[in-house]
């Protein structure tokens, strides 16, 4: 069990029988009274955000979550399908759960899926992914608004800023944590 003094950003706990993560946290002691722990919480299943304030003395169950190694297979009507690399069980993650991470999925990519029971609720991608540029206009000299950068779209439909020398058809490395361009990949 967690107590109020364990509360901090990133902690995952059970509220109303569903896993939640603390995305914002502050401690306050108004008027020299009892301490309040103000949390911004995200429901890890529905994604909904809300504020809740706790007083010292309250306790919380840790969220029983498990990370499993999986491989990305394909997208179908049910969503994005992954296979457990140990048990070969298949599960499906919705587009909402993946959010922008869907742009960085490559066939057979090894990922970690966060499981709440039999429900996949989150994904951890490899830090770097290589994707091919499918569309990018040549850089116009004198267009200094974006420095030496220009927009480019990669094979998954994701658009980002790349240096002027990156042409269509080139393979680039992207940091999946930030979504930023890292380097051009030599082939």
């Amino acid at each position: 069990m967690y107590s109020c003094s364990d509360l901090k950003k990133g902690l995952k706990l059970m509220i109303d029988d569903e896993p939640h993560v603390i995305v914002g946290f502050d401690f306050t002691k108004p008027g020299k009274g009892q301490a309040l722990y103000k949390c911004k919480l995200r429901n890890m299943i529905t994604g909904s955000l809300f504020d809740r304030t706790y007083r010292s003395g309250e306790s919380f169950k840790p969220a029983p979550l498990e990370e499993r190694d999986m491989q990305y297979l394909y997208q179908d009507d049910t969503g994005y399908v992954f296979m457990d690399t140990k048990t070969y069980d298949q599960i499906s993650l919705s587009e909402e759960t993946l959010a922008d991470d869907k742009y960085f999925l490559v066939d057979n990519m090894e990922v970690k899926i966060l499981m709440f029971g039999e429900l996949g609720i989150g994904i951890t991608l490899p830090i770097f992914v290589n994707l091919r540029v499918t569309q990018s206009d040549p850089w116009v000299k004198g267009d200094t608004a974006a420095g030496n950068n220009k927009p480019a779209t990669v094979e998954t439909g994701y658009t980002l800023q790349v240096p002027s020398f990156v042409d269509e058809g080139v393979l680039i490395q992207i940091d999946t944590r930030t979504g930023d361009y890292v380097t051009r990949v030599k082939e």
Binding site: F27, T28, K29, P30, G31, A35, T53, R55
Partner: protein, 304 residues
């Protein structure tokens, strides 16, 4: 060679302002005839308070405030004293709290909390000669006089329930922090006064209204900056309040501490007096437009 620590380097401007603010505070109190004192950080016990927990240090504790030692100096005949020191409070950590923080306390013999209200106005005038403060986009006119507001009025004005109702529902802290605090000190600094007697363990009660304590808090731009009161000088009353607080602490399963016997003994000699504690880190936050307390200290616990 490794790169310099960017987080530390980024604080240089604010830490420079901080040093200047400390110099000006010392000049202010020096000119007003106050003696700067230093009392030990490690003491046998603090004044027992229900909601403040000290950090143990061997068989002693780190002080949560220098008030006991400073009042013993008052009792010994020091008329006007101030101290700038670090204080420790267990588990207080947030955007406006650090478990180790810097406090300014000053005490005046033969005085009461009204004089301290004037002191606050004068100190801010010294620190901000322009009379204008811009904090997180809010402009505050810090020229005297400050707004004076009772706690009852503040609840009537800003909270959905009255102070009495909030106390009955045991939701004082929630209403106070959600509705009242953010509205305080927005146009002018606010002196919030007339706290219930039960919320000021070391304060004198008002002679005309014994259910109220002669206590006030100073707010600027929603930030609580200082807590002040006329000191209780009745040693037997003080002992009873300490014993009650200690009993409540033990009912909550908190560690037991001895009562500060020497303080209680010497309190009998203490003249009428008033004292105030002002959070230096929060003052620097206001004067350097910092939105979190970690930006105005060189090292937070996470950066050690």
């Amino acid at each position: 060679m490794a790169d310099p620590n960017q987080g530390l380097a980024a604080k240089q401007q604010r830490l420079t302002s901080r040093a200047r603010i400390l110099t000006e505070i010392r000049a202010f109190f020096g000119a007003a005839g106050f003696l700067e004192v230093e009392t030990p950080y490690r003491i046998p016990c603090n004044a027992p308070e229900l909601y403040i927990d000290p950090l143990p240090s061997d068989s002693s504790v780190l002080h949560t405030s220098p008030e006991l030692c400073m009042k013993r100096l008052l009792a010994a005949g020091y008329p006007q004293i101030y101290q700038l020191c670090h204080c420790w409070r267990a588990e207080e950590h947030g955007s406006r709290h650090l478990p180790e923080f810097t406090m300014l306390e000053w005490y005046r013999a033969n005085s009461d909390y009204r004089q301290l209200m004037d002191d606050c106005e004068q100190l801010l005038a010294k620190l901000l000669p322009s009379g204008k403060l811009i904090y997180q986009g809010q402009q505050v006119d810090v020229r005297p006089p400050f707004e004076r507001l009772t706690l009852v009025e503040a609840f009537n004005r800003y909270a959905p329930v009255s102070l009495d109702q909030a106390m009955v529902e045991e939701k004082f802290e929630e209403h106070y922090s959600d509705y009242v605090e953010p509205q305080l000190g927005r146009c002018k600094p606010t002196i919030l006064y007339d706290f219930p007697a039960g919320m000021a363990a070391l304060a004198r009660t008002r002679p005309d209204k014994p259910q109220l304590a002669e206590r006030f808090e100073l707010y600027i731009a929603g930030l609580e900056l200082a807590n002040a009161f006329s000191e209780l000088t009745d040693a037997s009353e003080q002992r009873q309040r300490f014993e009650a607080a200690e009993r409540q602490r033990q009912e909550l399963g908190k560690p037991a501490y001895p009562l500060p016997e020497r303080f209680l003994q010497e309190l009998e000699q203490m003249p009428e007096a008033a004292g105030i504690a002002l959070g230096i880190d929060r003052l620097v936050m206001l004067l350097t437009d910092a939105d979190s307390i970690g930006q105005v200290v060189a090292f937070t616990p996470e950066e050690l």
